[in-house]
């Protein structure tokens, strides 16, 4: 039903140039896309918003290429993935791009802020590809096939990244007392 809803909104945008329909798509998917970038950038809210905006603008200009072979969400995440990798390639430093550092800690000593920092601390232990696969599966609920479609990585590679990523995360969580 949700997929039909997305397809009907896409159709309205393409056929009737209905920008309000695209606005609905943005509102519906903005949280997932921005959250993905927050996880990939280890909590850089400003950068995440910029990348997310670029993603939706690219999606708007390329909407005609959406063939509904996959869900709109998967298609959108693929664009987001490419936007992120274009950004990392253009901002690549001589040191390892996987060694992204956490942005400055946000103020406030609330429990939720501490938990958010822990998520990014945990994700910061992973390589970029591992972080991507883990985020897509455990945060966005994507299947292996979806992750393969989004990243272009073979299914075996995705599974390897997930396995190693989960091992590292489990180690981190145990070290920090999350082993319940």
């Amino acid at each position: 039903m949700e997929r039909v809803s997305d397809i009907s909104l896409v159709t309205r945008v393409l056929v009737f140039h209905d920008k309000r329909a695209f606005d609905k798509l943005v509102k519906k998917h903005q949280s997932a896309v921005r959250r993905m970038f927050m996880n990939l950038t280890l909590g850089d809210a400003s950068l995440s918003d910029d990348l997310a905006q670029d993603t939706f603008i690219k999606a708007y200009t390329r909407l005609g290429s959406f063939k509904s072979m996959s869900s709109f969400s998967t298609w959108l995440h693929r664009i987001a993935y490419n936007v992120f990798y274009d950004y990392t390639r253009s901002h690549r430093k001589t040191d390892d791009i996987d060694g992204m550092t956490l942005p400055q800690a946000t103020t406030g000593g609330s429990a939720s802020a501490a938990l958010q920092m822990d998520i990014y601390s945990a994700l910061g232990r992973l390589k970029t590809d591992e972080r991507t696969c883990i985020t897509l599966q455990l945060v966005d609920g994507m299947s292996i096939d979806d992750i393969t479609a989004i990243t272009g990585m073979p299914a075996g590679t995705v599974k390897s990244h997930l396995s190693r990523g989960k091992q590292k995360l489990a180690t981190f969580l145990k070290e920090n007392g999350y082993d319940r």
Binding site: F22, D23, R34, Q53, K166, A170
Partner: protein
Amino acid sequence: MTDNRDDILVKKFFEENIKEIEDNGFSRRVMHRLPGRASRTNRIWTLLCAMAGIAVFVIFRGWEYLTACFYDVTADISTTEVQQISPVTLGITLVVLTVLAINSYVLSEE
């Protein structure tokens, strides 16, 4: 067994910490940046120029000049020896023009 426990631990950790992100004007910023503002501007500008052109045409009685040009052209044609153009030549010309037009259309579609 340990792997399963680790998987469960990690999965539970993320399930407890997934948060929806409030829009807070994000979609408005996206809509504001969408392309199409420029093309709308272009359309408006084209419309204004077209209206200006029509206004100039009407003010300076452009149809009188067009009529005069038409009569000049037809007068020139009638004075040439049109009889020398055979139907075959005319037919070949039409076929060539048609092929060129189709080819041009196909190329533009590609």
